[in-house]
Subunit: 375 residues, 2 copies
């Protein structure tokens, strides 16, 4: 289907009452098409699914991308689509809702869909996008358990599309520098990782506190940063976990929604990881790794920036671009040229984090040490 | 017994072959006696038992004390006694060895004995000093388990002497200020304590790595700082503990000597504590407490100084006197005037830490949650 036909079709739909689409000008369409022809190589034309606050941040960050561009929208809220269309100059032909987005398969002007929706929706939505033949970028957590995550990996593989997880920190300069130092032995034999991930969550009625949509609580949303960092900071996969849960506000944090969990990860070389995940505290955002020759400290470690890095050699003085700008350019390079970031961002990486989360929840229940099999 | 008689008695002993005692001049004795008459109140006349490196630090710090003075020595190494006698102008009448120090009961010029010897010796030595009718200041850990600790408390009570534990940080200005802030509600409802206590221990032949003398490994020596801080920073007593041990060097860290233990403490109000104790890592010395209204961070937290304190309001700019100077003056005020420091330093306080250590070792063995009964 060419863009003109799509345009007309969408106009027709709009006229019969599907409110998500609006009129647009032909010149915009040609400017979109030309994006794929810039000097640095092809540009990844991205539709964002889920126009919430994080989606808005990604859109903002993509303004500065050289290799990625926001070209499409998927939302269940017509007024948001209208607003975003105006702000980002998005043609109606590239706008979808949750009923009709399978039609994206007929849209040659969209390469990938960035899924930024509640956790429990990632799995079915990824399967639909893969079936539509588009690359999937999916926010973390990729799913609500490892089984779902693996199904997403398998579905994308079968459809011949990439599945990437929104691990923006894998492109963040301080993080990348510390991983380089660790890989090159500058910290010596590693002994300890510490991760503190948390914030005090507000509105008790948001989807993040609804176990059906969130698939959990703080662990899925923010604890996963410490899990992922424990793996990329150490360069090892955990082999066991112990975990302890505390719930001080059972009214706000319903059954199935974890408030605060401390967990410990054992690694093959003897490294021990000690982590905190919480929806009940601010002032917590730290990754720390300690080796025989030195240490590295990120604090703040996972916020939207600026990240501050410090090692035994002193402060890291690195630039602070928007993480999502780096991420989307990096993902374009990965999709088009197969260029791998220092730590993977593919679906398999996401499944590994989900396996750790599964084990943490099992360890909270059992009260004992739970083995983890990542490989 | 007056000082003259004691002096003569000691001279006599010296003459019959007890090698730790040597001749001295009468003017030194009168200068000692006059210590008890300074304007600020009586001066605590202290004998140090155990002339190792920490004993030397305490002696150095006492130079600046207004209410405490080093007046006696107890050691098994005659050459050390001679050296210390010269350095600190200590009369032979106030010098003892481990065979004869029970005779201190006949020495009216010594008020208290500061026991700075290997952990496993604290219990029998405290019992002997108490029996000699002298106040006991005992280094931490007070003993190698809570049972021994309680016996020491009971023995000192029965003898009518004070038992104080060398908790120097209870007098440290940054620590005291943060405890004040917490008590006055400036941090709001508390939620989390983090303690990291460790260093990379050197010489594998030292007593600290001998389970018979140390009664354990890192936990007894350095982990106890995180335990004690977890209690005074939160103002609560833990009700459960979980713990995980990692040993990467079983050659250096023999059975019964813990290398690295992570442990978690649950508190009645829902505060969770996450701690690390290790003899295998440097760059770890932090206490952090997080509340609904703010946080407090000590880093370094327990070294000999300077301690650095930071809260949500900014850096703490407090003086950095030697901790042991403050401690010994504070302990004199406690002994003579009953003036309590912001956190107790008595034997009962020490027993509480030992109960937590007992529970941590039990939790390492069981792999599960172990209840703690402090009260």
């Amino acid at each position: 289907m060419n863009t003109r036909r799509a345009f007309l079709q969408n106009v027709t739909r709009s006229a019969i009452g599907i409110p998500l689409l609006s009129l647009q000008s032909a010149p915009i369409i040609s400017s979109l098409t030309s994006c794929a022809e810039v000097a640095d190589g092809p540009v990844l034309r991205v539709a964002i699914m889920g126009l919430g606050s994080y989606g808005a941040r990604v859109a903002e960050a993509m303004k500065d991308c050289k290799r990625a561009k926001l070209v499409g929208l998927i939302s269940g809220t017509p007024s948001k689509v209208t607003e975003w269309q105006q702000k980002w100059n998005i043609p109606a032909a590239n706008c979808y809702n949750y009923e009709n987005f399978d039609n994206i398969k007929n849209n040659p002007n969209i390469d990938a869909v960035y899924i930024i929706t509640p956790n429990a929706l990632h799995h079915p939505q990824t399967l639909r996008v893969a079936k539509a033949g588009k690359h999937v970028i999916c926010e973390k957590p990729m799913a609500i358990n490892a089984k779902e995550g693996q199904e997403m990996v398998d579905a994308c593989k079968a459809a011949g599309v990439k599945l990437l997880i929104g691990y923006r920190l894998h492109f963040e300069p301080n993080t990348v520098e510390i991983i380089r130092m660790r890989k090159e032995g500058e910290l010596g034999k590693l002994l300890y990782f510490q991760g503190q991930s948390g914030f005090r969550i507000g509105n008790p009625n948001q989807w993040r506190l609804d176990p059906k949509l969130a698939g959990g609580g703080a662990m899925m949303d923010i604890g996963i940063y410490s899990i992922n960092a424990a793996r990329y900071m150490t360069g090892e996969e955990p082999i066991w976990v112990t975990a302890q849960e505390v719930k001080t506000d059972p009214q706000k944090f319903k059954p199935g929604v974890d408030e605060t969990i401390t967990f410990q990860l054992g690694f093959p070389s003897g490294i021990i990881g000690s982590c905190l995940s919480t929806y009940n505290m601010n002032n917590l955002d730290r990754f720390f790794i300690n080796g025989e020759k030195g240490f590295a400290d990120l604090q703040p470690a996972s916020g939207y920036g600026p990240i501050k890095g410090r090692t035994h050699k002193g402060e890291l003085a690195l630039p602070h671009p928007m993480h999502q700008t780096l991420q989307m350019d990096g993902m374009a390079e990965l999709i088009f040229e197969g260029k791998q970031p220092i730590v993977p961002v593919d679906g398999a990486e996401g499944v590994k984090d989900m396996k750790v989360i599964d084990a943490i929840f099992a360890a909270v229940k059992s009260g004992g040490k739970v083995p983890i099999k990542i490989a």
